[in-house]
Symmetry: D2
Subunit: 401 residues, 4 copies
């Protein structure tokens, strides 16, 4: 084991699962903020892969600032229209020339955005329902200082920053996460009226969980208000069953609670996202890198999506701390909750954080001392392997929002 | 015959065909200015047709101000890349709501631009090689005053403006026009290396015609400099033959004269247009409505493309005067050259111009007096039928640039 | 006392002041994210005041999405140049017509941005160093449902959301907050070389506090590297003294640690912000509404700046919970730490949250039971007075970032 | 005398002054197209001067594509408001780095636009009434080939292009030109209600001249409809007197003929330009380089404003041919009308055009043969001095629109 500065200690408080009030939120794939996260990360991955293909290494870039300006639409039962397109501005910087070779960074970015939109939001016609523009400044070329003194290839931290991860998910967190994923996955495949803009809020008070779903319904699949109501009811039932598989607690499900059928005010959309009318979005304002917003837990404000995965320490440490937390819970028995924090030192190798501290809530009968060494060993092992985070991000294997 | 203010008189000077020096230019379909003209007119037509479909009449709009900001590309033998996209901003105004119904004017505009680009410039990927944005202000709704006192449905002129048309084309004009059309038509179909950005300049001094062609060559169809030179030679020969079919004068053809093979400076492009690198464009700066720039002839500065064809008098009179000139030459023998000018009166019916004057150069043995009545009759007939110009524009039958 | 759902309970864990590792960050006024926060909030305040002036009430708007695209600059000792301007896009929506009167929302927004920039960033020339553009969609007019059943004028929550506030600040938090405020205030007045883009990171391990300051130095006030070094040293000494006034703990101060004098790599800027070169920004990605980023504490992801202060519940509850926490600590003795959370119910009056819970760490010898009633009473009183938050925001009295 | 290819020959037709129908137009300084021309030329001049200051020669640039997107305003007697700003996009390209030195081309452009707007349009608040954005691509650095074989410093033509100039102005042309200049000059100084957007159309039929003026009236100086009518009457009288000083022909003056007082439809503006509401503009669509649109005369379609004055042959030859025509008329007696055309040869020195031809209408009793040598000598002299055109353009002494 190395001399990394690893601390393992007990949490003095209660596990989140045991706290009286818990709040959890997830903005679904089609939420305007998530659209920006998704495009920023798609652009980032595409740039990284192209750099690897063309020059053998990832050059300097950051594309974590996509801005979405909402459009204007006129949804109608049976199919409405987009009146004014959504406007998406991809900003950031990327290295456009290296070793005498030009890199078509803006073309790469636009193609990545196009492909991502096509895959995730088939109702949104690229270039007409959504106009994607790009303004990438010049990056600074080489990523400096990627070798340490002993000649190991290990990037240096670009900033003093920190990452934080947790495991396992509480029941409420699982319910919120799964609700969005399954609605946007298998359920939407069967029921195309469910658009990708699904926002889920979970609130637990003691043993009562309220799940509030706001789901954009796609007008072309809904003939009238009855059909709309069927869609809403379908979601409600599906989420209820899904939650019952996860928790024995009392669960109530609320769908599109702002609807007012008498006034004809319902959550009907032409494209399946509120970005079509009035809701702007930007990167880093929604889900944290574990896919959730969890005010009961320590969170980083760092935007993970769109950042360079080679040396942007905020991105790497947020993802890595989450991975470590999961690994520890998988491999070590007796842990009810773990929080892992990684604090970088600017200019130092990223496998050697200033401090890596793990706080544990152990199961009854288990003391921190019993498992401290195991936990520290896993943290050490994962830190040594930190560059695999970079690789998995580039390969698109790690979600960032 | 009506009491329209029609004048027919002799030109005191020489026909253009007889002048010592003649200059003629045509910017081809893929020239940045022509791209803007084409999109402006495509958007205009699409709006007009949609208004007719939805509300039964053409509402107020003008979309004659598309601006193209050049991209950046790295052409290379065998296929290069677009580095930064071309940016196209469609501006203008259009009526977005009428009789309580929303009209998706921006969506219509973007779709029209997309379809036009796809049809004319297949090498240009919509949304990645070229980003099209749109900013349409609100139009003023109804087109006012489209009925005159006797209840005839006849639009009133929206301005004091004038149009001018000529016939027949001189040999130099024919050569210039046909060179671009055939290169961009049948020739490019056989030889895809010829891109749509073809600029043709004709200069005649007495009986010597120089035809200078600047043709953007598409890199993916050209393996090396020899192949490039073959393309250039091919064009030169083709244009020479084409010119010989039109004129017996001495013709010299020059293609891509700015090339410098030794310095590797050639007109190679990735997408077939100079808009990919450095050449901006906008509406109304290129060809007049007869497809040519003819400093030997009277020209209107009015941008024809993108204007509303119902009551924009500059557009209508430029197209109509050209149609009249052609009809007169077709139907009346003994005319070597005719110039028709139509001057509107703001607020008066467009079939009743302030003055319609035709200047003639007659063939030997023919006096203006011999044919004056015939000419006036045709002018009168065509003016009476002015609204067919509107219809043909809406149907896309009349070219505007 | 009302029947508001107020809970007061002990924190089971340790106060943040007692935890082993504490991390605190503040992005200064001139940080690109904070520039966006500041403009978004300035625009919001200006709109609210204009609505009140013109129609007597605040209409629907949200302007919480300003995006900053970095410029390009060439700083140089003695004074460099901006090469390409910073681009700021103000987006959102606002009601543009009400009761037949037009409201010049975009003009209001641009003026507010201009005035805010002039006041805070005098080195940034409006319109040349920074281009500010605006795209405001149409808002939905009246803010609905602002009267409850009993006729009291009390806005209804527009969403299910929550806010969280803490008091008092830990020593580390105070040091971080005061460092930025004083550097950007009295210190910069004396030493104009200190630009407004000051980022402060505080890290406490047990009783050792590291304060890391990244301060943009303005080139026109710095003649050479020695002068630059003097500025850096001056900041270091000032912050050290400042911290010593706040805490007895051991404090180390690090300023511009990424500088490398040998390589000539220093934090020199022409305008005092990194936005001039390479660093983009957007609203809601930096400081929470108490001015800090505090991963040791519960945080809301909600962007507070730019939101409508009448009924945007996320904004109101974040500000109110912070105010409540401060009031409680001011008025009740024996509290070491309080966290206040307010959870809204969509559609219910904002003075009646779904739950208001306060978690306390009491001083030695004080039990929660001793002070519970006092705390609850203050919470109740402040909730009853919730609309004063709206007023103070509109008057610009409450900071949001 | 040199061996330049100079031709002098008679016009076979009539002088324009003798033709039956003559049409002349001028778009005033504040017309949206002219605003674009003015900014494009202001930016061009500023770049040229900065290049000279910084690197001793003018580098490659072209800024001839400014686009104006109209705003939205609510004019009102006594003072209205701009609701949405005018948007101006300066495009083109300019050399940003030369000999290792960065040139702040975008900053230069924005400052030039700001200063030009402030000087010409004091009612337009920079940055709030009008947003100016800039997108300049990278220019190609050195202007190549500026020395010919004998070592003289003489730029080479960058294109095959032509310029055309005329002298003297006809009476109608003088009336139109002076009407706009004086209204926008001394008259507006006395009567600030007259805004800079003044469009003048002159139509002469035989000896009857109709002058139609469309003048934007500034609302803050006009209390009511009577005051407005006074402004209109004042203009009418002033123009009538002005015309009477120029011509003995019968002149009728029409001002704001589209007004309908009964319907309250008048040409009232807040900022003095129709760009504030609905009228877009772009470079090169309005006045030719002599300040007029003259369909009775040969015109070049080339946009003169914004072009590089060192080697852009279209710009240089349009300005030079006009200067030559004026000089000839000044220095040689017996000329009623002259048209000078200059046709370039790409790659050849600009003082050696392919052909320079002058067509003359002589006064009674004067034959072309009498004055041919004098005319040719002046043309030769002016061509030899062609680079003084460049200098005068850079110094802002030559108007381009």
């Amino acid at each position: 084991m190395t001399d990394r500065n690893i601390r393992v200690e007990p949490v003095v408080g209660r596990a989140v699962e045991d706290q009286e009030v818990e709040i959890v939120e997830r903005k679904g794939l089609g939420h305007p903020d998530s659209i920006c996260d998704g495009i920023a990360e798609a652009v980032s991955g595409a740039l990284a892969r192209e750099y690897l293909d063309r020059v053998g290494e990832v050059l300097h870039y950051n594309t974590d600032e996509t801005q979405l300006v909402a459009g204007n639409a006129a949804p109608a039962f049976g199919g409405g229209e987009v009146l004014e397109p959504i406007y998406l501005l991809i900003t950031g910087r990327a290295t456009k020339e290296y070793g005498g070779r030009k890199i078509p960074t803006e073309t790469i970015a636009l193609r990545a955005a196009r492909d991502y939109l096509a895959e995730q939001f088939p109702e949104l016609a690229f270039g007409t329902d959504v106009v994607v523009d790009v303004k990438l400044g010049e990056g600074s070329g080489d990523l400096q200082g990627v070798f340490d003194d002993e000649g190991r290839r290990m990037p240096m931290a670009n900033d003093t920053s920190f990452g934080v991860g947790h495991a396992p998910l509480t029941e409420t967190e699982q319910v919120v996460l799964e609700t969005e994923r399954r609605l946007n996955g298998p359920y939407a495949e069967e029921e195309p009226a469910v658009g990708p803009d699904i926002k889920v809020m979970g609130k637990r008070e003691d043993d009562h969980i309220d799940v509030t779903v706001a789901a954009a319904v796609v007008d072309s699949y809904v003939a009238d208000l009855d059909a709309y109501d069927d869609v809403v009811s379908g979601i409600r039932g599906y989420v209820h069953d899904l939650a019952a598989d996860i928790t024995d607690r009392d669960v109530r499900v609320h769908v599109n609670t702002a609807d007012d059928y008498d006034e004809g005010s319902i959550y009907l959309t032409t494209t399946g996202t509120s970005a079509e009318q009035g809701d702007d979005g930007s990167v880093g304002r929604g889900n944290r890198s574990n896919g959730l917003i969890t005010p009961n837990r320590s969170m980083s404000m760092e935007a993970t999506s769109g950042k360079n995965p080679v040396n942007h320490i905020g991105k790497i440490y947020n993802l890595l701390s989450t991975e470590i937390a999961r690994s520890v819970v998988d491999e070590v028995t007796g842990i009810r909750e773990i929080r892992v924090r990684l604090l970088s030192q600017i200019g130092e190798p990223i496998d050697d954080p200033h401090v890596a501290d793990a706080s544990l809530v152990t199961a009854e009968g288990v003391s921190v001392a019993d498992i401290e060494a195991d936990v520290a060993r896993i943290i050490d092992r994962e830190l040594a392997d930190v560059t695999s985070i970079t690789e998995r991000v580039i390969d698109g294997e790690l979600a960032t929002f």
